[in-house]
Symmetry: C2
Subunit: 434 residues, 2 copies
């Protein structure tokens, strides 16, 4: 008999069907044994009403994998009004040990380190499973929105000969006796590929050797990158990003409705134009609204971002806010300055509920500008950048792009307290397993 | 004026339009200057018929980035019967140096090392661009086929605490003073995630520190992985794989028709059932057809695979052939034996035009079987596998999966002589840049 899913039994009353999944609970209630079987889509209640069936289950613990055939029966007291009766079980994988964490309650009781130690089974909990379905949904929605906009997917090397973003915070690799590094971002490669496809995106791992032990840092994460050519300035990137965020959320709405409901998640509304504030104006706002004078500082502190997020919420009803025109001082060397005022850059951050979700902007595209920027940054030896610079020596259009942190997106979307809950198997200062 | 693409001008005769792209050639022909402009979609011929326009282009080399406005004119001598006249140019990014390789001929003349050294510009050649559009098409088609079949996408760590497939051939990473490794495959993680989603896939980089300098080896490549639970045996994986290959090729056919035409690529036909031959029978065949006795050997040599590929072609008209039931001796420890004859495994290779494209099979799913396999392989210290084994201690269904090498797929599809041509920026024994 073909196996069907627990969510498919409602239409099969009166038939014998075959289910398969994990023993979630086996409980004696009023003299009757009820078994709850979990599969990837849901659960089903099975009345263990024969001595044979009960004998098969003897000594087995939760998470035992079972196939079961039984009669689908309407029963108004059962969850969903349906249960299986007269079952016969086949044990596919017996479990006899006690679980290190409990999976058959509505929430996971274990604290974070214990949960992470046992993530290989903890992730089976329906709330965790739902979260990573959203994760898959964000990736699919991102790709789908960009493909519609004429972007081409690329896969670029993670093993590189030199650091991308800065010399610090890279992981070193022993590469056949030479020194290699793990890519901190696909930045250089996605720019190079604008010369080939004009519009490109990549979804893949990036590696940051930042020795920070906070709730917001992990050392390997998934970056959703895009880069596009023939732009006027960073505002073209902001417009595409707005459409991508809108498309991604629309995809979640249709592809992950049950998961959003289970997690009680509120999808943000994306206004036709996401409100944008110029960096120095944002600092003035903070002074006016909260009395804190951060004017002249080259960046925003997390508290500043939260205040701006609140302001966008009350002022515009928007969960999103662009802050544009950060000072050049804090932006990487490939950042394009604002031609009208070169102290500031043609770059932006996108805040989502008061936290930076995206960083992006226009990049330099002229070869001479790169040489000047390198000199200004004190790079005396340009050898590590030789092939990167060759791109610009042979004709690159004005271009820009941005990168979304997948885990950060999930964290803000669900209001998680720790980013480690937004990645299957987090890597941090102390954790390399599971 | 909004920029349009070169492929859109045919419908705009009599209008002034704006194009943007790269100067491909500028040629004097019969007293008239013709400029060919290349953008991501194609090329357009522009007649440089005013002294002003010619002056703007003075001293500029191929690959200069231009925006041009001009009058779309029907001209039967022009390529496609259309050209732009009376142009005005805007130089977005001037090029004055001589190109290290030539991009404006139908094929690339440079030899492989020179091409790879200058890949950042060489990839702009229309034939190279088309190839990597196919690469993107394979990834999209793979994901699309699997999503339709109820698979969920996962992203698993590339930084791991211990080797996956075997102790050798791993890249070591300095991880905050500890030793970490780059994942050789997502094998363990995709198995673990079968416990969560039942059916999972991943598209991502894998790293193999194999010190082989051949036309078939690179040290970082993109692996298309899938893994599925509640199977009867490896034949269920083979059936899903067949559907995935079929879906992927169908996607290429619709999404990449111009690229397939440009590259003169013949898409293989996928028969309703891909022919399959049992491993010892394949060895008998080789003896019968080619007089070479390889019976008793635990694996097939590349020449054997080529012979079998020819046989599948002539016998069944199939570019694909499954070889199933490899001896256990050469398969990894997690491989499920054939219950009827445990010398052989429930595993398979899929040959595509006589070369292994996919390796897969059923995995062990019972905890005790893993302990026995580890003992048999002489693993005395199971600590590195502790969390992996926890998965099986707490209930895993019969499961299996497989992995397709993206670059290998492209190489066989296009008949490339070197796998380095199937990856944007190859990593090998000697090459870490660009």
């Amino acid at each position: 008999m073909e196996r069907i899913y627990t969510t498919d039994i409602a239409g099969r009353v009166g038939e014998r069907v075959r289910l398969a999944g994990w023993l979630q609970t086996l409980r004696r209630l009023g003299g009757i044994n009820f078994l709850v079987l979990r599969d990837v889509r849901g659960t089903a209640q099975i009345v263990v009403d024969t001595p044979d069936a009960l004998a098969t289950l003897s000594g087995l613990s939760p998470e035992t994998v079972l196939a079961v055939e039984g009669l689908v029966t309407a029963e108004h007291q059962a969850p969903g009004g349906i249960e299986l009766r007269n079952p016969s079980f086949e044990v596919l994988s017996p479990v006899r040990d006690a679980m290190p964490i409990t999976l058959n309650r509505p929430t996971i009781g274990a604290n974070l380190p214990v949960f992470l130690d046992h993530a290989v089974i903890g992730l089976r909990h329906p709330t965790r499973r739902a979260l990573f379905r959203l994760s898959a949904g964000i990736m699919a929605g991102f790709r789908c929105a960009l493909t519609r906009l004429g972007f081409t997917e690329i896969q670029t090397p993670k093993l590189v000969a030199s650091a991308t973003e800065s010399g610090a915070n890279v992981f070193g690799v022993d590469y056949f006796g030479r020194r290699a590094y793990l890519a901190q971002s696909p930045q250089f490669y996605k720019q190079i590929m604008v010369g080939v496809f004009e519009r490109v995106f990549e979804v893949g791992p990036v590696f940051r050797a930042e020795p920070h032990d906070t709730v917001r840092h992990i050392n390997e994460y998934v970056s959703l990158d895009l880069e596009m050519g023939f732009i006027r300035d960073h505002r073209d990137v902001m417009a595409v990003l707005t459409e991508v965020i809108r498309g991604t959320l629309a995809h979640l709405q249709t592809a992950c409705a049950p998961e959003l409901a289970l997690l009680n998640a509120r999808l943000p509304h994306v206004p036709e134009r996401i409100p944008a504030v110029h960096f120095p104006d944002a600092q003035e706002l903070i002074l006016t609204l909260h009395g804190e004078d951060c004017r002249g500082e080259p960046d925003l502190a997390p508290q500043h971002e939260r205040w701006l997020g609140e302001w966008a919420r009350t002022q515009f009803g928007s969960d999103f806010l662009f802050v544009a025109g950060y000072p050049m001082a804090k932006r990487p060397f490939y950042t394009h300055p604002n031609p009208a005022d070169p102290r500031y850059s043609n770059s932006f951050d996108l805040l989502f509920r008061g936290t930076e979700l995206v960083t992006g902007g226009q990049r330099l595209h002229l070869y001479q500008d790169y040489l000047d920027a390198a000199a200004r940054c004190g790079y005396t030896d340009l050898t590590p950048f030789e092939t990167y610079l060759e791109t610009f020596r042979f004709g690159m259009p004005p271009h820009g792009g941005c990168a979304i942190g997948l885990e950060r997106f999930i964290m803000q979307l669900l209001g998680l307290e720790n980013i480690r809950l937004a990645t299957l198997f987090p890597r941090d200062l102390n954790r390399l397993a599971p």
